[in-house]
């Protein structure tokens, strides 16, 4: 296993950073998708429109 992926990563540690940043980005992306979906569900439940326009 020394010469495999682990060995490569040990010699080129910048790729470990790369993978970590990619995982962080995927996590943020999935979180945003989830939040967006929940917001849509709440908006649907409340029903439109709930505008802040002043009633004169």
């Amino acid at each position: 296993m020394e010469g495999g992926l682990l060995g490569f990563l040990e010699k080129n540690s910048i790729y470990i950073v790369l993978f970590i940043v990619l995982v962080v980005w995927i996590g943020i992306f999935l979180f945003l998708i989830n939040t967006d979906k929940r917001l849509k569900a709440i908006e649907k439940e409340l029903g439109k429109p709930y505008s802040g326009k002043k009633e004169n």
Binding site: V17, L32, G52
Partner: protein
């Protein structure tokens, strides 16, 4: 939905190329970046630090635009959009300060040097920080929206000066500032990757893709934020 997929791909592209492409003296292949004098490997910060500063300008601009729209039609939704932009602008402004400060420690020796660029972002943080204090101090929502709109218009007038002009007309350490030429002793325009783009074609491509990706990300965050503010206000009025 397509733009979310585009954002995901663009950001992955920026992360993979921005981190893994090596910086070499004479770039031969398409997957090599050139050395920028005085920056070395640390030049890669440009793909992640500059977009945060860029987004704070975009956010403060949007806060002003929606502030003007609120003053025109007195719709509190516009105030929610302006407030969401302000919050994100502040967040990205803090991120730009922190990332720049960490970089400064390793490039200039200390975390904080009162360089013109650092001073100007500090003043911007104070200006916009006081806007949050103002918003939280006013309970009447119409009054709060009106004051916030007027303040965000006036505050944005200072942004071009503090971000684009002041750091470029003063002597400083940050790329883009004026420098003293060691040979002639005269004040000259700095050798900056930000101003005169001493980047090669592919580095410039990654940089602009990064700006685009971060802008789409901001757009998404802003939409989620203002929609949640509108819902929150709607529920609190019920």
């Amino acid at each position: 939905m397509i733009w979310k997929a585009i954002l995901f791909i663009l950001m992955c592209f920026v992360i993979i190329t921005g981190i893994s492409f090596p910086i070499v003296e004479n770039p031969q292949g398409w997957m090599q970046f050139p050395i920028i004098p005085g920056l070395g490997e640390k030049a890669k910060i440009i793909f992640f630090h500059v977009p945060t500063a860029w987004l704070s300008v975009i956010a403060f601009l949007m806060a002003m635009v929606y502030g003007i729209r609120y003053l025109r039609n007195k719709n509190l939704d516009e105030d929610a959009k302006s407030a969401a932009a302000l919050q994100l602008g502040m967040m990205f402004c803090i991120l730009a300060t922190v990332t720049g400060s960490i970089w400064a420690k390793f490039n200039w020796g200390t975390f904080w040097n009162w360089d013109p660029r650092e001073t100007s972002i500090f003043i911007l943080l104070l200006i916009y920080g006081s806007l949050f204090a103002l918003r939280s101090a006013v309970e009447n929502e119409d009054k709060r929206a009106r004051l916030s709109a007027v303040y965000s218009i006036i505050a944005f007038l200072t942004v071009p000066f503090f971000i684009f002009i002041m750091p470029r007309i003063m002597l400083g350490l940050h790329p883009g500032s004026l420098e003293i030429d060691p040979n002639s002793g005269k004040i000259v325009q700095g050798t900056s990757p930000v101003v005169d783009f001493k980047m090669n074609g592919n580095m410039r491509l990654v940089f602009f893709v990064s700006l685009a990706a971060f802008t789409i990300l901001y757009w998404w965050m802003w939409k989620v934020r203002y929609r949640s503010i509108i819902i929150q206000e709607y529920i609190s009025k019920k």
